[in-house]
């Protein structure tokens, strides 16, 4: 095992043992699980030269020895899928997919796999920092005498996602494959921590649905920044994938110019839903409700209702209640998911639904909504218009947002958060 910091600046000797320069950087080829080292950058008296790894006979903490004494400067160049370890990764920010956060590279760990040197891990722990400061040895001795140990932390290269802004040597398109597997809230947290350029890079590689889920989880300020940085077409596509209440809130926060650019590009159906929601005061039931809910006629059988649910694949927040409406759209009853599952398959909804369900008017105050949700222990409360027609539901998370706002506390220091003085 070898640390990058141990080899940078070490002498490079040719086949005869003559010193020709110092190790300036190592080149790895991305693509495999562990990127193999493919080249060596040597700093000679006057310039940086690139050498293919096949020219290197031995390589360790004492330096590099070349297999040949004839150096052909012209025959090696950095290819598009290759990274310079020192220039592009050392000291840069990366996404730790395992810990789901943005961290800084203190050192890089190289190791031989089947006789070839590969990049295997990233050192992000205090030990790496001390090594770079040149005091790892003394501090370790001190710690040992105190009966403690210096904390170490490594991330397997497989769990690392590099970021665009740090890749200075070439315009590498980072695929961000690992990020797509993260929970939207974690992804939102990571995007939140990044510089705008990296945000754009990551969002460009995500599909609309994942991007929408992640954006829903962000702080309102970040949502607006991210949306206004996107191309209007892409922003419209993502808004269509968001739940209408979140989309409406976000659109309400956009600048007038951004709103005028994005809204016309949305599909008509989604745009109408959003427009309708935008018509209600922000702090009313109408303002916080979503128009995504499940409404069925009272004549359906339990089995048919379950089939309908399968067909609709509703979101987690909306699946717990099935609302029963008459021909005019008036709310006449409600079923919980439990009621539905325990009912005999051929039972008719009218016979086991709960009649006269708790409902709120569209203009009900949001605090009233929160009270009702808490009082009746509901996961969602239906919202009806003046004629008693079901127009939407407020899910428990949105209802309680008034009493328990999302991470608002981070907003003050956010102004200063990115390395900010």
């Amino acid at each position: 095992m070898l640390y990058l910091s141990q080899v940078i600046g070490r002498p490079v000797r040719d086949g005869q043992g003559e010193s020709i320069g110092k190790v300036a950087d190592l080149i790895v080829a991305l693509g495999d699980r562990y990127p193999p080292v493919t080249g060596l950058v040597v700093m000679t008296d006057r310039r940086r030269i690139f050498l293919p790894w096949s020219d290197v006979a031995s390589f360790d903490a004492s330096g590099a020895t070349l297999a040949t004494s004839i150096i052909d400067i012209g025959k090696f160049a950095q290819r598009p899928n290759e990274l310079l370890l020192f220039l592009d990764l050392q000291d840069k920010q990366i996404v730790d997919l395992d810990g789901r956060k943005v961290v800084r590279v203190n050192d890089l760990v190289l190791d031989e796999i089947e006789g070839k040197l590969h990049l295997v891990a990233v050192d992000v722990g205090p030990a790496g920092l001390l090594r770079r400061l040149g005091v790892e040895g003394p501090v370790r001795t001190l710690a040992r005498n105190l009966g403690r140990s210096v904390p170490e932390r490594f991330i397997d290269w497989e769990d690392v996602d590099p970021l665009e802004s740090s890749i200075a040597s070439i315009r590498l398109r980072v695929p961000h494959r690992g990020l797509r597997e993260l929970h939207p809230a974690d992804l939102a947290g990571i995007i939140d921590e990044l510089a705008p350029r990296d945000r754009a890079g990551i969002l460009a590689t995500l599909d609309d649905e994942i991007a929408a889920d992640a954006i829903e989880e962000m702080e309102p300020d970040t949502q607006v920044e991210v949306m206004e940085d996107l191309a209007p077409e892409r922003a419209a596509d993502i808004l269509e994938e968001m739940s209408p209440d979140d989309a409406a809130d976000l659109i309400a926060d956009l600048s007038d110019t951004a709103r005028d650019r994005i809204l016309p590009l949305m599909e008509r159906e989604e745009a109408e839903e959003v427009q309708e929601l935008l018509g209600y005061p922000e702090d009313s039931a109408g303002g916080i409700m979503t128009t995504e809910y499940i409404g069925i006629p009272a004549t359906l059988k339990a089995s048919e209702t379950i089939d309908r649910l399968r067909e609709l694949e509703p979101d987690a927040e909306t699946i717990y209640y099935v609302y029963v409406v008459d021909e005019a759209g008036k709310l006449v009853g409600v079923l919980s998911l439990r009621d539905l599952i325990v009912a005999p398959a051929d039972a008719v909804v009218r016979d086991f639904m709960l009649g006269e369900p708790v409902a709120l008017g569209v203009l009900a105050d949001q605090e009233e909504v929160a009270r009702v949700v808490a009082r009746y222990n509901l996961l969602a409360v239906p919202v009806v218009d003046d004629e008693g027609r079901l127009v939407g539901i407020v899910t428990v998370d949105d209802a309680l947002d008034t009493v328990l706002p999302t991470a608002w506390k981070r907003r003050l220091p956010r102004v200063f958060s990115r390395g900010g003085g």
């Binding site: 947002d401 220091p413 003085g421």
Partner: protein
């Protein structure tokens, strides 16, 4: 009957922990995480952020730069030297313009903060050095803010042994639970006081011709007291901390490269605004205090400069302004110091996080804040005015280090591409650095000679 549109495919809510949690369980998590205050919906799109968004980071940096240290330095400068050192203002204005423009350009083009870039391009050792410098500078600045708080409240007869610890504890908690409203009010009160200075400068009826001549007539003396004031003026006008703030604020706003010119104008405008306000503070104090031969020994003396406008209210107005400016800066300094250092070393940060997840972040924050407060309470401390001036000298002495890092970065072609410094900009920047270094060197040289018993001039 209304049915929702079926989403295409199954939404991916897999793998990560918490995905199987129902909404109620998620709320229990939020409660555990401490999100308990009820503020969000009412502040959306309004308040300080909206206000700041309109003003631009350069202008904010300019306004926030005039805090306790600035107010004191300008007041003492005006009282002690009258119009004699006014010629420094055109120079500090140009230097601040150059420096703020660099910070703004770095922020726009790279989208990263200054400590990020230092870590990215200079490695761990230089980063450790830069962060140590910044920590010392910001600790000095925090001391200045607590000295300002103590001085302001002593005007009302409140002893600092009571006020400083109380404010420190209140600030410590406030930053972790603050509402924008509070910050906004403090911010506006500060602007109000500076506007009073502008009015006061006019009402006191100086000979504007004389002011104009003083602005372009250099006079130089090697008296240590004057040199100290000169370095303090540079240090308080161009604080290291402000450059970190400005670049981060610009980066945070995500300003496009196409809007670079606008942002440069904002940075340059902010530099001019700071110095114009400072100039009026000096003119107002010179006209009232210097003319009357008053030496400033405490904050109540400095308050007399507002006399022409506020009359008997001037002491109270000055105290409120000084308190507001100090509290505002004391709210921001320790927390941003902590953010900057954690960012550079990749340590977990964020006030919303539990302590055990971000020990370094809360540790640096707490240490900076309370060390600043404790130092002001030390029994053998010189008068607060001297402490304030000393901290501003410290800024002036540490400034060149930050400027050299910035200079290296704006010359990095891989980083800035076509926005890299050209020869003319480089000449200007170098001249600015040389000017600051020369002033620092003269101060240190004269100080050293003085220490071994030699006296110049």
């Amino acid at each position: 009957m209304r049915l929702p549109a079926a989403p295409e495919g199954v939404r991916r809510r897999v793998r990560a922990a918490g995905s199987e949690l129902g909404p109620l369980a998620r709320f229990r998590e939020r409660i555990a995480a401490g999100d308990l205050l009820r503020l969000r919906p009412r502040f959306r799109g309004r308040g300080l952020l909206a206000f700041l968004a309109v003003m631009g980071p350069g202008l904010i940096a300019g306004i926030a730069g005039n805090e306790a240290g600035g107010l004191t330095t300008y007041s003492v400068l005006g009282a002690e030297t009258g119009f004699r050192l006014l010629w420094l203002f055109p120079l500090t204005t140009v230097v601040l313009m150059i420096v703020q423009e660099m910070a703004a350009r770095l922020g726009v083009v790279t989208g990263q903060g200054l400590s990020d870039l230092i870590r990215d391009w200079f490695g761990v050792r230089w980063t450790a050095f830069a962060m140590l410098v910044l920590f010392v500078a910001n600790l000095g600045q925090t001391i200045a803010e607590f000295a300002g708080i103590a001085a302001a409240l002593e005007i009302f007869g409140l002893p600092r042994l009571l006020t400083v610890p109380l404010t420190a504890v209140a600030l410590w908690a406030l930053v972790l639970f603050a509402s924008y409203r509070t910050v906004e009010r403090v911010f506006l009160s500060v602007i109000l006081v500076f506007v009073t200075y502008i009015v006061s400068a006019f009402v006191s009826g100086p000979d504007w011709g004389e002011v104009g001549r003083a602005l372009v007539t250099p006079s130089f003396e090697l008296a240590p007291a004057t040199l100290l004031l000169m370095v303090a003026l540079v240090g308080t006008t161009i604080t290291p901390y402000m450059q970190f703030y400005l670049q981060s604020a610009v980066a945070e706003k995500g300003i496009d490269e196409e809007e670079l010119r606008l942002e440069q104008a904002d940075a340059v405008g902010g530099a001019i605004w700071t110095n114009v306000v400072a100039l009026f503070v000096v003119v107002a104090t010179a006209q009232t205090l210097h003319a009357a031969g008053v030496r400033i020994t405490d904050a109540a003396d400095a308050a007399q400069a507002l006399g022409p406008v506020a009359g008997e209210l001037s002491t109270a107005l000055f105290a409120i302004g000084l308190f507001g400016a100090s509290v505002l800066a004391a709210m921001i300094l320790p927390i941003s110091t902590s953010f900057v250092i954690c960012e550079a070393f990749g340590w977990e940060s964020g006030v919303g996080k539990p302590f055990r997840e971000a020990p370094a972040f809360f540790g640096i924050y707490t240490v900076t804040l309370f060390a600043g407060a404790v130092i002001v309470l030390l029994p053998f401390l010189p008068p607060l005015i001297d402490v304030l001036l000393f901290t501003q000298n410290l800024q002036g002495l540490l400034l060149p280090i930050v400027l050299v890092f910035m200079f290296r970065l704006v010359n990095n072609e891989r980083l800035l591409g076509r926005h890299v410094n050209g020869p003319i900009r480089n000449a200007l920047t170098l001249a600015a650095i040389v000017l600051v270094v020369a002033l620092d060197a003269i101060l240190l040289g004269v100080g050293a000679l003085e220490a071994i018993g030699l006296r110049l001039g």
